[in-house]
Symmetry: C2
Subunit: 241 residues, 2 copies
Amino acid sequence: MILKIKEDLKSYLSSVPLFSSLKETTLAGMAQYASALVTPKGTTLFAPDSANDKFYIVQSGWIKLYRETLSGEEAIVDILTSGNFFGEIGLAGTETMPYGAEVIEDAHIMALPRFLLAEEVMRNSLFGLAMLQSLTRQKMHRDMEIEHRTVQTAPQRIGCFLLKLCKANSEGKETVLHLPYEKSVIASRLGMKSETFSRALNQLRTDVGITVKGSTVTIHDLKKLVDFTCSACSSSFPCAD
Amino acid sequence: MILKIKEDLKSYLSSVPLFSSLKETTLAGMAQYASALVTPKGTTLFAPDSANDKFYIVQSGWIKLYRETLSGEEAIVDILTSGNFFGEIGLAGTETMPYGAEVIEDAHIMALPRFLLAEEVMRNSLFGLAMLQSLTRQKMHRDMEIEHRTVQTAPQRIGCFLLKLCKANSEGKETVLHLPYEKSVIASRLGMKSETFSRALNQLRTDVGITVKGSTVTIHDLKKLVDFTCSACSSSFPCAD
DNA sequence: CGAGGCCTTGACCCAGCTCAAATAAGGTGG
DNA sequence: CCACCTTATTTGAGCTGGGTCAAGGCCTCG
């Protein structure tokens, strides 16, 4: 399922914000070791608790990071897309990944051996700082996540998810957007079952006026949605992402 | 409520694991700017969303980090004790803290201006790496937290909490331990109401044989507790903390 | 056109929440 | 050290959001 293609890895790497402080020669060195993966939906990059010494950067598509219990229950930890990275966990000395990674929408991914990162952190403190900032921000998102799951209802969590999707084009009375991956995955990402997701979406439809047709959602009154959603959150729309 | 005492700040700083890579002179420099706070239970160090430019290291006692919604609901993000730190969030450029910090058991805390950290990260990449590892691990804990709240029942979450408390002295058939802070805070930390906590603790008493007297808990059969608790988790006791 | 995946709906259940009241546990001043 | 007040914890009763189980509906792809 995993193809490797050789093209201009270096130029891609240089376009990744995280790597903006890297010198040309460093990027070239990394490109030597990097591989580009073209992975179709359904590909498992690695299983939970498997050994792994790579660092991944998502170029396009969607990747799900998840943990699962002995009894087979799954908790989605995060869902990543273009520009996001994962696998940095090994920096803390862990040899195995505490989560698994699966492609949920056809993706292009770049993989680097992790030792390159550690080396670069030691050599280039600007890069270290960039990593630090990124992780700090990620940790904060987890905190938000925990808050959301504690204080928000299912329809509110969905509202929050929709709002994040339309951040960019928040102007105009009517916003049309596209759910980026399967509803059942969104449900699980938001910590609910898909039946609940379905019903909660209906509730949003009648209560705050959105229209759902397949994976297309139209928000007719943004303000109404914001009021409904953010009333049970510590930060309000447009919130720190 | 906050007293400043001048004593040997530097020697304390040098004993903090996070700072193990710092040179004597650096530590001395930091000590110049550091202040030691003696804070009684109930002290608010800073409110959610307040501006703050400090980095805190807990020497003793317990600190609660929390977020709260407009309607006054509170979600506890983390509870910290000796050796833990917080306030690093500013490294990511945020000027305000997305959470508040309150002392929940009399504490000694060290505060440093945050710019010292940023400086040191730039100067000393070993320190940068240490921060990075620490944050990586913290992020992973958040992931665990999210998993726990999704897949574990209330009694299981309590079991998990108890197991963490007796990690150190896990030998011996009978383990006696002390709840480190108020039950209502533990409840909230575990994402449940205190009524639920109380009932769930009773359930643990009858189902896995523990004894509760005030804030003292006796575990009569560790294995039984582990079996009960960890069956709905991706990692088993003694799990990566 | 048929098979297999998603998604939705209905019926019912239950863990955990809410409201209210009774107890316990500290903490304070005398 | 005691009486008193305040705050934490426990318990009871009843409710409900979201889960479970099972049956269709719908869409995609071979």
